[in-house]
């Protein structure tokens, strides 16, 4: 493989894990394509009201 690799990653799905994968990768020096089928990222978590245990807003 050597040095002939592409320094970018495609992340398919913009839910909580997709978003965070993308952030981690971008912050450690890779170009990221975040591909989401809906009009905005956020996934199911954005639909939740509050989360255990702190009752933080899921937003």
């Amino acid at each position: 493989m050597g040095n002939n690799v592409t320094g970018s990653v495609a992340v398919i799905g913009g839910g909580i894990s997709g978003m965070l994968s993308a952030l981690d990768l971008a912050n450690s020096g890779y170009y990221v394509y975040l591909v989401e089928k809906g009009p905005a990222i956020g996934g199911v978590m954005a639909q939740l009201d509050k989360t255990f245990p702190t009752n933080d807003c899921a937003m």
Binding site: V5, T6, S8, A10, G14, N27, S28, V35, K37, D49
Partner: protein, 954 residues
């Protein structure tokens, strides 16, 4: 970021993929749309709001929800009148930036990437196929997702719980109107667990969805908070599965503090009480008696399911899947799919909750990065820097921008008047009223104005600094000004929105806010962000599987790692385990991993080593270690704590008195050794929760159910005629481990439930080992004679206070490390530069420990990746040593250990702040009696000037 896009095809291989992506039309130009909402206001179209689970309607041009990213509108082609019937076009007229484009077309783009991460997520199970729960027919049967929206303050009822939630708030249809008449505040709500999970009779989902027990408990508690304590909440369940960190406490609290009823039963049927729409629930109680109970509402705790389209995609990519449609991964590479270079994260990997998905995300990121490290930083861009203008000593020349925000602000506040008023304030050189302060052309103009008018302080009165301050600060930097010479005040959320009906007062308030901001800005000074030097080495404390995984990921990306292990070999607790639940041979695998680590030049393994002391902070740690009795010092930039946990030493059930009573780990050892004794045995019994979920250790140890079930299968497979019993409280084989539970029952393993009040009794009678329990089905006492009794012992934390102290990280009351955020920061500490993985965080099986190890590495990688641009914040506390009285309040009160005493020099004994550790929270400033502490950017003078400015009469 590509939204409204779907992956169609992948070509190429690991390192060099070519991916075809189908981009669907948005009909709104992303660059031009500013998210003002003028289009939606004029849109006559209506569609079901999917975000609110179709409980309400939204417009045809819409954003999913107020906090959506990107906050750009989209036209729904299915319901838009223009796109369907070529009528209307209101939005095009209303849009102030001409962002609407009805000619937008579908297109396919090809991108080149080195790795792929699949995180397509799940869909909640659709219960309409079940006839016994009557979801499609009864208006008071809802899914948990629908209920989640009902509870939400941004949902259709703004958090108010009512029955008939599926009926529109303002019903138009006759049938809906009739139903709406029955609407009331519910007094009794029931949750049904395992709807679409652990069920192969009515659907094909054999797995446990892992999340429903917790969310049902959460919904029940929040319902009570919303509707008051009188609300009766009952949860019908098979096994309560609350094995995560602090989950058990939450469950206990729900019973004891919140008075939620937990009923162990699978509900038989639901019928409407004629004439009321109330629901009669028929179920069998634990004694087997049929019970009937009336509820106002039923919530179905629907499971997680992999949608058909995801399965098709996986099939297309040749990715192996489990029967449930989840991605097949191995225990030792828990985020790698069967295709090289394609990784998985989230619910597609396995049914899991948010923190697990977050860990998956980071782990997948580091795994994807491991392949590509030679190409790191080749495609990312560096920003150009504009030389800074020195403004120190200059008279303030303030520029004020009053944003109209379309009609959002201007519709209420007289912006022109406020702008004129701003011009009269002291030090204000220039004031302008842009329609949208955040739009790109305004930004460009701002830069011009700053240069042209020689402005040295900027005030923007617009929306919230939370989202927009960084944007404006960037603009200042583009104009050569220090970004702290900026002040923002919110005349939208705090003013035009809340005083909609009182424009005069709103205008007056806007003037007050602008005056305050200007008076503060006049006193602002440029602040320096100190560069933090970064040692690129990492120390991993603990050489168990979690620690090794973290070290391997870090070394794969080219970083040097020290592993500190106090034992004489790598492997930790995994050295004592036989096989994984997936059947992989742990010892064989461990051996090859250890060899791999030892051969790795980037990893230095320190065995028989303990840490004596640690100093420093992110980027600059220093520890004294004792290795084989020799003392030495190592320096590093980040630390990963992977110290693990140990097995509880039981003091009950005859352990230590009778050799036939052993722990789970003892059984594993016998299996590893392939002990001949096992073949002599004719019966074996397991007791679960030994030392877990009791008053001493109120948490669930998470791994023991799966471990015992798996070992029971192992015994049954070795010797099929062996009698195997498992005495349990709740079987917690979450996720696809549920399949093992089923396999065990099919193989004839007998499961007997006991509760905390009636623990099994173990005694030796006439030389044989007798276990007395109570059969939960028949309610009869029961005696089991057994050749072997295996105790599934609790996992206990090391409670290493010394280590916690070294790194200034907290332990919880049980002795586990407390992570930064239970949901969003599960692999790191609040202390910068310190990361956490493995069972020291909470008991977890191997695959989860490895995932967390990789995730911790990924989090550390993002820190190390910032090597040359890691800066402190400008807004940190500063000590005026002349005034400092050395009393130490700041040292004691700071949650981040930023203040300390100077040890030498003129101000020896006085306090100083380490700007790297300071978070700018202001606690020390507020508690300093001597007035020696100041928060840069929020000086007392600035605050006073704001307060006095407020008091000035206009």
């Amino acid at each position: 970021m590509l939204t409204l896009s779907e992956l169609i095809d992948v070509k190429g291989e690991k390192g060099n993929f070519e991916i075809d992506i189908l981009k669907k039309p948005r009909y709104v130009d992303l660059d031009l749309c500013i998210g003002c909402g003028a289009c939606a206001e004029k849109c006559p179209g209506k569609a079901d709001d999917e975000y609110n689970e179709d409980l309400v309607k939204r417009k045809s041009v819409y954003v999913e929800y107020a906090q959506a990213v990107p906050l750009k509108y989209r036209i729904d082609p299915e319901t838009c009148l223009k796109l369907t019937k070529d009528k209307c076009g209101n939005c095009e007229e209303a849009c102030p930036t001409s962002a609407i484009n009805f000619d937008d077309k579908e297109e396919t783009v090809t991108i080149k990437t080195g790795s792929i991460i699949l995180s397509p997520g799940y869909k909640p199970f659709d219960p309409s196929q079940f006839d016994n729960y009557q979801y499609s027919n009864y208006p008071n049967v809802v899914t948990a997702m629908e209920f989640e929206r009902i509870l939400s303050a941004t949902g259709p009822t703004m958090g108010h719980i009512t029955t008939m939630p599926k009926v529109p708030v303002n019903p138009k249809k006759k049938k809906d109107k009739e139903l709406a008449a029955y609407r009331k505040d519910p007094k009794k709500i029931a949750w049904f667990q395992c709807v679409g999970s652990r069920d192969i009779n009515k659907c094909d989902n054999a797995h446990c969805s892992s999340v429903c027990c917790m969310y049902a408990v959460k919904e029940a508690i929040i319902s009570k908070e919303h509707a008051g304590d009188e609300l009766d909440c009952s949860i019908f369940f098979m096994d309560m599965r609350t094995p995560g960190k602090d989950f058990e406490k939450y469950y206990n609290n729900a019973q004891e503090k919140h008075g939620i009823n937990f009923i162990r039963s699978r509900v038989h049927s639901v019928t409407e009480v004629p004439g009321t729409h109330d629901l009669e629930v028929v179920y069998a109680d634990e004694a087997g008696e049929i019970q009937k109970e009336i509820y106002d509402m039923v919530v179905l705790s629907v499971g997680l399911e992999i949608p058909e389209e995801t399965r098709n995609l996986a099939e297309k990519l040749n990715i192996e899947m489990s029967p449930g449609g989840f991605c097949n991964t191995s225990t030792f590479d828990p985020v790698s799919s069967s295709v090289d270079g394609i990784y998985v994260a989230g619910a597609f990997n396995r049914p899991q909750d948010i923190p697990q998905s977050v860990l998956d995300a980071s782990a997948a990121a580091s795994a994807a990065g491991d392949d590509l490290s030679p190409a790191r930083n080749t495609l990312t861009k560096k920003l150009e820097e504009v030389p800074r203008i020195n403004v120190v000593g200059e008279r303030p020349r303030i520029g004020v921008f009053i944003c109209d925000c379309g009609s959002n602000i201007k519709g209420v506040v007289d912006c022109a008047h406020v702008t004129e008023y701003a011009k009269t304030l002291p030090y204000v050189e220039f004031a302008d009223e842009p329609m949208f302060a955040c739009s790109q052309d305004t930004q460009d103009k701002m830069v011009e104005y700053i240069k042209e008018k020689n402005l040295n302080r900027i005030v923007v009165a617009a929306c919230t600094p939370k989202t927009h301050e960084p944007l404006f600060q960037e603009t200042l930097e583009n104009a050569g000004l220090n970004k702290y010479l900026f002040e923002m005040t919110n005349i939208r959320n705090h003013d035009s929105w809340v005083h909609k009906n009182n424009p005069d007062m709103a205008t007056k308030k806007a003037k007050d806010l602008v005056r305050m901001a200007v008076s503060k800005a006049a006193l602002s000074e440029p602040l320096k962000e100190e560069k933090i030097p970064m040692d690129e080495r990492v120390m991993v404390v603990g050489g168990g599987m979690a620690g090794i995984s973290a070290a391997r990921s870090l070394s794969a990306q080219g970083y040097e790692v020290h592993i500190i292990e106090k034992q004489d070999r790598l492997g930790g607790e995994a050295l004592k385990l036989h096989k994984t639940p997936k059947g992989e041979d742990i010892q064989k695998k461990l051996k090859s991993i250890a060899e791999d680590v030892n051969a790795n030049d980037n990893i230095k393994v320190h065995l028989n080593t303990t840490i004596e002391s640690t100093d420093g902070f992110v980027g600059n740690f220093k520890s004294r270690i004792t290795e084989n009795g020799d003392s030495s010092e190592i320096e590093y930039g980040a630390a990963v704590l992977a110290t693990g946990a140990t097995a509880h030493e039981p003091d009950e059930y005859g352990f230590g008195m009778d050799d036939r009573v052993v722990t789970s780990l003892d059984l594993d050892r016998m299996l590893i050794e392939n002990s001949a004794e096992l073949d002599k045995m004719n019966s074996a019994t397991f007791i679960q929760c030994v030392g877990s979920r009791d008053t001493n250790r109120p948490y669930c140890s998470k791994i023991c159910c799966t471990h015992s079930v798996h070992n029971a299968i192992e015994l049954k497979t070795r010797k099929p005629d062996m009698d195997v019993f498992i005495l349990y409280r709740d079987i917690r084989t979450y996720g696809e481990n549920e399949l093992l539970y089923k396999q065990a029952r099919d193989l004839g393993v007998i499961f007997i439930r006991y509760d905390l009040e009636n623990k099994p009794d173990v005694r030796t009678e006439n030389g044989s080992l007798v276990i007395k329990a109570r059969d939960h089905v028949l309610g009869q006492p029961l005696e089991i004679e057994s050749d072997l009794l295996v105790l599934a012992t609790a996992i206990v934390p090391r409670k290493d206070e010394k280590l916690a102290n070294f790194f200034k990280v907290p332990l919880n009351e049980e002795g586990f490390f407390v992570e930064k955020h239970a949901k969003l920061g599960p692999a790191e500490f609040a202390t910068d530069g310190v990361f956490i993985c493995g069972s020291g965080h909470y008991p977890k099986p191997l695959d989860e420990a490895i995932t967390q190890g990789k995730a911790a590495a990924s989090r550390a990688l993002t820190l190390l990746g910032k090597k040359d641009n890691l800066f402190t914040s400008g807004t940190v506390a500063l000590v005026d040593q002349e005034k400092c009285s050395s009393c130490g309040v700041c040292v004691a009160i700071c949650p981040y250990s930023a203040p300390s005493f100077l040890e030498e020099g003129r101000y020896s004994g006085k306090a100083e702040i380490n700007p790297v550790l300071c978070k700018g929270c202001g606690l020390c400033v507020a508690s300093c009696r001597s007035g020696a502490l100041h928060l840069k950017g929020f000086n007392t003078d600035q605050i006073f000037s704001q307060i006095f400015a407020l008091d000035e009469v206009v």
